[in-house]
Amino acid sequence: MNKLLQILLGTLVLGLGLANAGVAQEPVKIGMVTTLSTGGGYLGQDVRDGFLLAVEEEDGKLGGVPVEVFVEDDGRNPVNGRQIVKRFLDRDRISILTGVIFSNISPVVAPMALKDGIFYISPNSAPSTFAGKECHENYFVVSWQNDTLHEAAGMGATELGYKKALLLAPNYQAGKDALAGFKRFFKGEVIDEIYVKLGQNDYAAEIARIRAAKPEMVFQFLPGGMGINFLKQYSQAGLMKDSAMVVSGFSADIKILNAIGDAGSGIISTSQWNHDLDNAANQQFLLGFRNKFEREPTLYASQGYDTAKLIASALKATGGKVLEDKAGFREALKAAKFASVRGNFRFASNQHPIHDLYIREVVKKNGQMQNRILRKVATDHQDAYVQECGLR
């Protein structure tokens, strides 16, 4: 019985195999395992769209080299992610893996890619292990190290002169890292830390605690829907005016701002990129993105775009050789000779970005909530784990 099933399945998959075979000039195959479904789905969609936008600009090429991009949805589930990447490696024989959004996926799939000897280039998730002890010559991060934007929030809060802060995060690793990152650069006093259940969506109890604690500012890292719910209830409770809200870019992307509407005005957030950054690459990106998708890009879209541009620069340098000339391709990536939409960009020795960080304020501009850059809080910032990394 199950043999029969297997054969049926086999033929089906054989069909797939053929479908992907036989293109004229063998293109460079790029696997993108990303999160398109679940509440966090829009992150993956933006990364994908940003990436494919860059590919489209060169109609199907990157750095003049034809590429074939396989996009699949991991549903934010490491098990699915693993299966997909397995398929990428064994069937599609990709030479670059990218697209991972969440930090519960990357630790599963990155080692698979690296063990297989292909390149892993992250457009978003960047857990500390891979920035430090586990850093790898074929592992690159275009976005930021996971702590970066939280650290920036710490700097920002200090620069804005806040003395008493209350911190809020889900009770899981990324949440704790976030608070750690904030505290690393915050000079003021942390009067309380509240940990909530992952996926919690009613914050009455926590808000009551905040009201009682009367902090000058609140720093919270509640990803996706959690953050939106919190912000709405926070402003419903009329706390926005009593204690300022300082968050990292994730909690104040354009999607979220649209969702919470006026409740969002005044939120301070940090980012390595913003639409009002004035550089040619950014202009081109914004123009292209708005035309194609008729919506505002989030920082994730900018990261996807940068990732594609980085790959393009490297492919150009090696004339399309990836696995045939790993050393060459690696050097080309390291050189990062591309115009990032965020301006300055280069790689640290652990192949995570060195870049500038900004704090932004949410303002209402002709009916639309949007982030406006207040000031730069860090120049050539690099993450705290670079010393632990053996690469030079």
Binding site: G10, V13, N77, Q83, K86, D90, N104, N171, K176
Partner: protein, 342 residues
Amino acid sequence: MMVSENFEARLILGVGILLIGFPWFADWLDEPYLVSTASRIWIYALAAMSLNLLVGFAGLVSFGHSAYVGVGAYVVGILAWHQYEETNFWGLPGTLEGFISIPFAMIVSGIVALGIGALCLRTRGIYFIMITLAFAQMLFYFFVSLEKYGGDDGLMMMDGRNKIPGLDLGEDRQMYWLSLVALGLATWFLRRLSMSRFGMVLHALRQNETRLKAIGVPPYPYMLVAFVIAGALAGLSGALLTNHMEFVSPDFLHWTRSGDLLIMVILGGIGTWTGPILGAIVFLLLEEFLPLLFQEIGLYLFSEHWRLVFGPLLIGIVLFAKGGLHALVFKQMKGVDGAFAN
């Protein structure tokens, strides 16, 4: 009645032997990754099998079975982590030795099952369903809050899979064979069990608990032992799962995982031998290939929203295919319902 069951047993054995050759078949298809998919299927089939011991034999519907899978998985993961970090776990060094960590995983899962079972088995019916769920949820949140071991993000096996003398599990085929053999052994063991005196008591328990008491057999200890055995086997599948994934996370214990296992059992046919295996195969294949399938035949709507088909499929099986796939496959044979009859 015994005929059909013996036939089924022989069938499983035969197909099982054929399946040893599957990796080569996959090679011939030039689809080596199918091997890893298949190993995953056997591992889940093992878990479903162990759940079937409770649901199918003893009539205990446990809605928290993924807890024991998860515990077993974490034992292997944590031992490997300590090995990698060269730290101690309550004075014990970590290890990558499969011969140590896999049995240890089974033992720990068994012990956990003993504790939880001892309490849950005081209830029956829907209450039992809910209390098993409750304990599973507790364990879920417990592992989420285990910062040291990655909390919500889970643990990777940095040094790769367990080491077993004479085997190189890093090689997918050998992982496949290990999973297949584990499933085979478990099936054999459970079959012996169901025919033993102990098995008889379990079957009797499912059929008529009051009567069992009236002939002087207190059900509780038997249920408890069954619960522990099921837990230990689930632990084994968890241990294999961690090896297969080279990763473990609380997601393994999420209540929907328990649901999946239950569905595999029901889908395949409760209280049958081929049932849990068929269930696991179909469930996982659908889950993985339904999207691709629809993509191939150009139904892009469904390829993204394959659950739109999967859901009604489940409902259909419940409403129209009583006894699950097993009944569909073996319906020409009589006495599926009496498959256990002594």
